[in-house]
Symmetry: C4
Subunit: 242 residues, 4 copies
């Protein structure tokens, strides 16, 4: 927790350079993405190559490729994009960029430093329960759970949500192709400017934060709340007072 990730090399980088992803620092984004993905696999968030994680490191975006087993990810498997020009400055041979890339970029455009996408079953079930109760326009809403304090109040705002605040997470409809979610994700970000997460119906959730620490801990808190909400529903316990 003490050591800072190293600054990126400023000089010209060949398109296949390993220098961008090789570091002995465990907090270097190339190492961190691999370590986080191993943990996410054990949580059931990235089963069967699903889901993904991206970290912004100064002007570079680190991205896991499409279709790889997340718990086996190696730093050399990562794509690196130049954020300003949206061009890949590192492209692993024989791998394809993640279809989540435009969605991760939407989060970075809102000031995020890290974005996590999970296929958590709790997230999927919550989107189905919301639809059943409130139709396609409904949001996931819950209140009076201590874990809500784990969610930041909103971009540019200080502190976290309080116990008596209502947590509201918008739900967008899934599309045939993941990149086609971008428009509705951005629309949800506009409509709910304080949210750090958007649920995708029958698909999962996107969660972001100022840095990897905040993105990961908010993703954990939300997943905890989604799971609790499903169990509450099974037990006939309402999510909100009214």
């Amino acid at each position: 927790m003490a050591s800072e990730p190293p600054k990126p090399a400023e000089n010209l980088i060949p398109s296949d350079s390993n220098a961008l992803v090789q570091s002995t620092n465990p907090l270097h984004p190339a190492n961190l993405i691999c370590e986080l993905c191993r943990g996410f696999y054990n949580l059931g968030w990235v089963t069967g190559t699903g889901g993904g994680t991206s970290i912004r490191h100064h002007e570079h975006i680190y991205l896991a490729p499409s279709g790889v087993q997340k718990e086996r990810l190696q730093p050399t498997d990562l794509f690196v994009m130049d954020y300003a020009t949206r061009s890949y400055i590192r492209t692993p041979t024989a791998l394809k960029p993640s279809q989540c890339t435009p969605l991760f970029l939407a989060a970075f455009d809102k000031g995020a430093g890290c974005c996590i996408h999970t296929h958590s079953q709790w997230a999927v079930l919550v989107t189905l329960l919301v639809e059943k109760a409130s139709g396609k326009e409904g949001c996931f809403e819950i209140e009076m759970l201590e874990q809500i304090k784990g969610i930041a109040r909103g971009r540019g705002k200080t502190g976290s949500l309080g116990y008596f605040d209502r947590l509201v997470v918008p739900v967008i409809e899934n599309t045939a192709h993941e990149e086609d979610l971008t428009e509705s994700l951005e629309a949800a970000m506009e409509k709910y400017p304080d949210t750090y997460a958007v649920l995708v119906r029958r698909h999962g959730v996107y969660v972001w934060g100022d840095n990897w620490h905040k993105a990961k801990t908010m993703c954990e808190s939300l997943d905890y709340i989604f799971q609790l909400a499903v169990e509450m529903h099974k037990l006939g316990l309402p999510w909100t007072a009214s």
Copy 2:
């Protein structure tokens, strides 16, 4: 992910040779089967010596023996069969071949490179829910889940199922002896030529793929979908629109 598994030795191999199962390459099938089985044990797929995994490596079939604790499997415990002649070219002393062998071979005959058999409780419960709803002739059918994209479209076809495609997995009846499943497994393969999986009532599932990566990730995606389907059923959420 980068390194290729080594080619098998072409010369004559004594029936008890360790050379077939000794390699420093973690992707050698003898090492890989042991590693995969440890992971499958933690997923609850091979509890109490149940389930199994087989990999085709050029003209050799690597098979875990019958009745061993899968999380403790060692490369020297493995059987190796010559695919062309169906004769064992490596037989560990004091161990018996798996009863799943003819079922694994049925998958290899359809072009598979790896076949996984699990006793996952989600698979078993899904077979019971299908029977309850549709009788013994019913298939497991579900649609509109992002994870369906984790399943390939079919042998000789390009790409994966789409979000709006219906996933159909046939269910066959269990038999007193595992090898007696072969005929109905092959019949299901004929009737559903695009399937990469067959559920076995009150027993589990067989999943295969072109290689171990595809077999494992499809098995994970299917197990995720089976679990989600059981939870959806508990919550009164239908699997298909009609």
Copy 3:
């Protein structure tokens, strides 16, 4: 799996000797009990110092002490009893013998080589569901599950139960003191001579086998079946055809 556990020293052993529990062989019962208990902790079988394991090694009985954290057990924490005389030949200082000891001995008297006691929640729930359905005299009965094949047919009999055999596990009432279970455990063993397990109402299960491999894999198969039975009950699926 290949190497044999070493024979016990035949010479006189001082009551506090470490020689009985020190071995570089991972299959020595002192090492094995510790390793098994770490695994059982992760399965939720020995939470909060509950449950236990005992192995017979020639004329010596290895026993975990009372009230220790099972996942932290060290070989030097173990008691060793001389089976013939029922006297402790190794007593760790500051530790008390397990209250399960007479129950483990009842299993050894029936020819077991290893006995496992878990507080698995699935076992507890099954005892409650049996009582609700059949009253205090009922047994847990289930049929037509592949995993039933994981249970041996009975002492002195060859092979395992078949898919069409009914698994019957007797349930005894819990008592204020664990050692007071001995009489009813022995009575259940008499009444159901083929059983390798006895459920204890609101408490857990005792499972034994000819050796540690058989006791552990049967315990896993039974726990799998108990969990499946609870889930089947939640889904309205019957355990037996009639």
Copy 4:
């Protein structure tokens, strides 16, 4: 288990000293808190920086800071407080003290040597089920479960609860700020002088014990009982006979 934690240095300690948290002894409280928190993370007790643990070591109180990922906690992240004066004698730079601190101190004032706070979902669900059944004044009450024996009888009393004893855990209402729980926690301790745990509605549980071993194993036993109680409720099984 054999070695004793070392005595604290008696001499004057600079406010940022690492000596208080550096030890090669795995049972030193600074090492132990980190190890315990890693285990608690895997149990789902401290998701998303929630929950915490504190150990009293002679006249020093070791405390995890606020808002850190518990599974990544390092000894140098810990606060150390002088118990007599309630002043911090070690303050890690850039970290804030835990808001749980006054609640941990309330437990130490009752003679505890360790206090654990979890956000376990089972604890939260139990508080909601108690409210639904008995209103805000209700306690969690359950009886006739073997695992109840894992709970000590009460401060200054010998031994543990028996199988036929009723376990009673008071529930207090949650507050906007965690430190505001202190008064009602102390009131519950007064009203239920034998309890080693207090549930907090929609929040989690505080569990303490004479030392870390007792606090941890009682916390495990209680969490097991909470989970079992939720499952019993789903299956229509009552918690008490009357």
